[in-house]
């Protein structure tokens, strides 16, 4: 009987993100997950003494294969591109181009080891798979181990410190452990980030690499965060304003005023309506493409969440142009409420992606994000039907 090879840090990241109750992967922020996987792979290479990195540079110190096909492939890629010379750049490349493959490989290894089970999502319709836990012991063991480290005063294993620092840098620690627990161990986590492990089974080179990779991951994970939150906040506030602001009175002066054209002229109504429909479809398309595994492997789509939120904010403006804050009655009112719910919950998802320096706030934001994602998807469900009926009313009558 052959013994299972030691798990990679990427596998540990995946294991940590298994939901205790359902056994499925937690719906963490996609970009943060990818950064964690990229950072974990670089960290594994550093622990294997194959790369050497500090805050300014990253170089291959040993081209000898590690023995793990995934790590060896990444090592070869780094060796072939000496011009890309620092950890920030490699975290960016790996998180955008390799994260999907790293995740699939990690999941495949966990399936192989009997930890997870793989199911096809809607057989024949999508290529993506869904994973559920088979053996919870491994996951419980890892989480228990991390919990012990966080609650004790012992000097931890450098690999565990790296794992904790990585997931914390990506702000997904609050997705894994309860809020109260994170609040309790926050000083200890901070201590890990500052911890000097030289002399504790690792050299100064690895310790420096850890710091550089964690910093790169943190920077990368926070990329677009401000923009995403700002755009979401703006769009969300505009959508809420639609509910609260008094309806703009129709102009009572004859003449081609802008509002008169917008809300009375059929041609303008059609333009604003189809603009709204186009923006909505574009937003939906971006969301679907972000979830397509094929695309994840081949293309960088870090901009795409921003694009998705951008289309959402554009929808708020188009909605104003089309309706002028008016809800109408019956089906039109239902469509308006539904659309606003979609926009507001979407904006809440974007806002809740922002991370702060306070773990309790982050934990609350995580809860808000999970709820908002569900509500956003739920609001999406009746929208096509309402839109089709809205269009049919116009063209059938």
């Amino acid at each position: 009987m052959t013994q299972n090879p030691a798990p990679t840090l990427a596998e540990d990241v995946v294991l940590l993100l298994l939901d205790d109750q359902s056994g499925t992967l937690l719906p963490v922020q996609e970009a943060a997950f990818k950064c964690a996987l990229a950072g974990a792979t670089l960290m594994d290479l550093a622990f294997a003494y194959r790369i050497d990195t500090d805050l300014h540079s990253l170089m291959v110190s040993d081209r000898t294969p590690v023995g793990d096909p995934m790590l060896d492939r990444i090592l070869k890629r780094i060796s072939n591109h000496p011009e890309v010379s620092n950890a920030h750049a490699w975290v960016e490349i790996l998180s955008s181009e390799e994260a999907g493959i790293i995740r699939e490989q990690a999941l495949a290894r966990l399936v192989e080891h009997g930890v997870l089970q793989r199911h096809r999502k809607l057989p024949g319709l999508f290529r993506a798979h869904r994973y559920t836990r088979v053996d919870g012991a491994v996951e419980r063991e890892l989480k228990g181990h991390i919990r012990d480290i966080l609650h004790s005063d012992d000097i931890p294993d450098p690999r565990d410190v790296a794992l904790i620092c990585l997931v914390d840098a990506c702000n997904i620690l609050a997705d894994i452990f309860p809020r109260e627990e994170i609040e309790q161990v926050a000083p200890r986590i901070e201590q890990f980030h500052r911890m000097d492990l030289i002399g504790h089974e690792v050299t100064g080179t690895i310790d420096e690499a850890r710091r550089a990779i964690v910093l790169a991951v943190r920077t990368r994970a926070a990329r677009f965060g401000k923009w995403l939150a700002a755009l979401s906040l703006g769009g969300g506030l505009a959508a809420v304003a639609t509910l609260l602001v008094p309806r703009i009175p129709m102009p009572d002066r004859f003449g081609p005023g802008l509002f008169e054209l917008l809300w009375s002229d059929e041609t303008w109504q059609q333009w604003s309506g189809y603009t709204l429909l186009g923006l909505s479809l574009a937003g939906l398309l971006v969301a679907l493409l972000m979830k397509t595994p094929l695309l994840v492997r081949r293309k960088s789509h870090d901009w795409w969440p921003l694009m998705h939120v951008g289309f959402g904010a554009g929808c708020v403006l188009a909605l104003f142009a089309h309706t002028g804050f008016r809800f109408g009655i019956n089906l039109n009112a239902a469509l308006m409420w539904n659309y606003l719910a979609l926009l507001i919950f979407g904006a809440l998802v974007g806002i809740s992606m922002r991370r702060t320096a306070w773990p309790p706030v982050n934990a609350a934001l995580n809860r808000l994000r999970r709820f908002s994602i569900k509500a956003h998807l739920l609001a999406l469900l009746p929208l096509p039907a309402l839109l089709i009926l809205h269009l049919l009313i116009v063209y059938l009558y």
Binding site: E266, I329, L389
Partner: protein, 508 residues
């Protein structure tokens, strides 16, 4: 299958099913109430679910065709009244290519240029959806510029054209300058105030010389038990005109006079169609007005789901129970009081509107129909204020026989126009002919008793209308003074301000 997958499948299936049902409502039949895109105007809300009445172009018709069908529908119901009102802006006037320059500003060839349905935010008085200063579109440039043509109008804003009692877009029969000048010297009250057609109607004689008694009624035994009914009939115009019970309860057998046949065909509660047999014009005008609009022949009939399903190639596929679900919930053919948007007495909400609602079917009492019937349902300030008003006092005096016929003023006097038809006085049951703009009422009603100047001022004063004309007008319409100045006195001084004071303003 995971719970999430199941929920997604259920959600998508539910959405598709709901869409399919709603599309079936639109195309085959069923309750389309939830599809109404906006509140319908007060004038049309009774027929708002008979969509095809106005949206007659058919599915996926291009915009031009749909617009044409809409406007044809408008004309179908309203063309006759506009013609009768000598419409000042008939669409035909604007079809002249010389008017092409105006089409871009306001296409007056189309009713829908100013009247768009389902737009409550922009709907103003008389279902107008254009801003109130719409006259500016054509009357502010070149030879049509009223500020140049009429010095008196130089400082006036265009939103006062139709709101100051001076002009209407369609009906200006009582407002044009020559008419104003001709009636300028009228006193506020005529020396013998009397509504001429009401007076004539009271003097009508019937064929039967000997008044019938309750014993003359011919009906099955069971129908002759209520003496009150028999007395009511015996004193009615129907009895005086020689119409016996069977005329309404068994019309097909009425002429043959055989009691057995009458009994066989006896209908306990005859339909309005029976009234229509003799009172054709009255029922026709009733269907044109607000009380009977649902019976207008141009209002589309409920859709036939079987025929529509057959057209879609689904005839016979669906079980009868499913087809029944796609049957138009035809609104009651008769409007109920509860559906009205005006304030009504709650206890009458269930009553439907037909001939018998106002005219007691056996007594056919026009006096009760003229006031009591109206006030039994309507509960707005204008109606409430009628009782105790000068008009009501005159009506009471007439009913009591203390005053000449035609001197009383009932609700019907002002709201249901009496006209002379073939030597008889008939009542036009389309109250819309005297409503909105209220100056429509001036020539056929007000001028019988009042002077034009007083009538204009009174109808321009919303407070006075709400008080049902208790008191004096507090508004003075300037048009008469300006018309006199322009045509009789010095045209160049037309704009110098009104020197003609309404005499009733200083009267006791």
């Amino acid at each position: 299958m995971s719970r999430n997958t199941l929920l997604w499948i259920l959600g998508i299936a539910g959405t598709l099913l709901a869409t399919a049902v709603a599309v079936a409502w639109m195309t085959v039949g069923g309750d389309r109430g939830i599809l109404l895109p906006g509140k319908t105007t007060d004038a049309h809300h009774q027929i708002e679910l008979a969509c095809e009445t106005c949206h007659a172009a058919g599915a996926f018709a291009n915009a031009k065709k749909a617009e044409k069908a809409l406007n044809k529908a408008c004309r179908g119901c309203h063309e006759a009244e506009l013609k009768a009102a000598k419409d000042s802006h008939p669409p035909g006037k604007f079809r002249n290519p010389r008017m092409a320059a105006y089409w871009e500003k306001l296409d007056a060839r189309l009713c829908t240029a100013c009247h768009v349905e389902h737009r409550p935010e922009t709907t103003r008085t008389s279902a107008v959806t254009t801003p109130t200063d719409f006259c500016v579109a054509c009357h502010s440039e070149e030879e049509q510029d009223v500020r140049v043509n009429r010095p008196s109008h130089a400082s006036l804003a265009f939103d006062t054209c139709a709101s100051s009692g001076c002009h209407n877009y369609h009906d200006n029969q009582a407002l044009y300058a020559d008419f104003l000048v001709r009636h300028a010297d009228q006193p506020w009250l005529a020396p013998v105030p009397m509504h001429r057609f009401s007076a004539q109607a009271q003097t009508r004689t019937f064929r039967t010389e000997a008044a019938p008694g309750r014993g003359d009624a011919v009906a099955p035994e069971s129908a002759l038990r209520d003496p009150a009914i028999l007395d009511a009939w015996a004193g009615s115009g129907h009895a005086a005109a020689g119409e016996n019970c069977a005329a309404c309860h068994a019309p097909a057998a009425a002429k043959r006079a055989g009691l057995a046949e009458i009994e066989a065909q006896w209908v306990e509660a005859p339909d309005m169609a029976v009234c229509e047999d003799c009172h054709r014009w009255q029922t026709k005008t009733f269907a044109r007005g607000r009380h009977g609009m649902r019976q207008h022949p141009r209002v589309s009939k409920p859709r036939n789901p079987r025929r529509r399903l057959a057209a879609l190639g689904l005839g016979g596929w669906l079980p009868e129970a499913a087809v029944a679900r796609f049957t138009d919930p035809a609104p009651p053919r008769r409007m109920t009081v509860g559906e009205a948007r005006l304030p009504m007495h709650a206890e009458t909400a269930h009553l439907s509107l037909h001939c018998g609602s106002c005219h007691r079917p056996h007594a056919v009492d026009t006096e009760a129909a003229a006031v009591e019937a109206c006030a039994s349902c309507h509960n707005d300030p204008h109606t409430q204020a009628y009782f105790g008003s000068p008009h009501h006092a005159l009506w009471e005096a007439e009913v009591a026989g203390e005053a000449e016929p035609g001197t009383g003023v009932s609700c019907a006097t002002c709201h249901l126009e009496k006209v002379e038809r073939r030597g008889n006085i008939a009542v036009n049951h389309n109250q819309n002919d005297l409503l909105r703009p209220n100056s429509k009422m001036i020539r056929p009603v007000c001028l019988d008793c009042h002077g034009l100047g007083f009538s204009l001022d009174a109808l321009a004063d919303p407070g006075l209308i709400a008080r049902n004309f208790k008191g004096k007008p507090e508004i003075q319409v300037e048009s008469m003074a300006w018309a006199i100045r322009r045509t009789v006195e010095k045209p160049e001084e037309e704009g110098a301000g009104s020197r003609v004071q309404s005499p009733w303003r200083n009267s006791p």
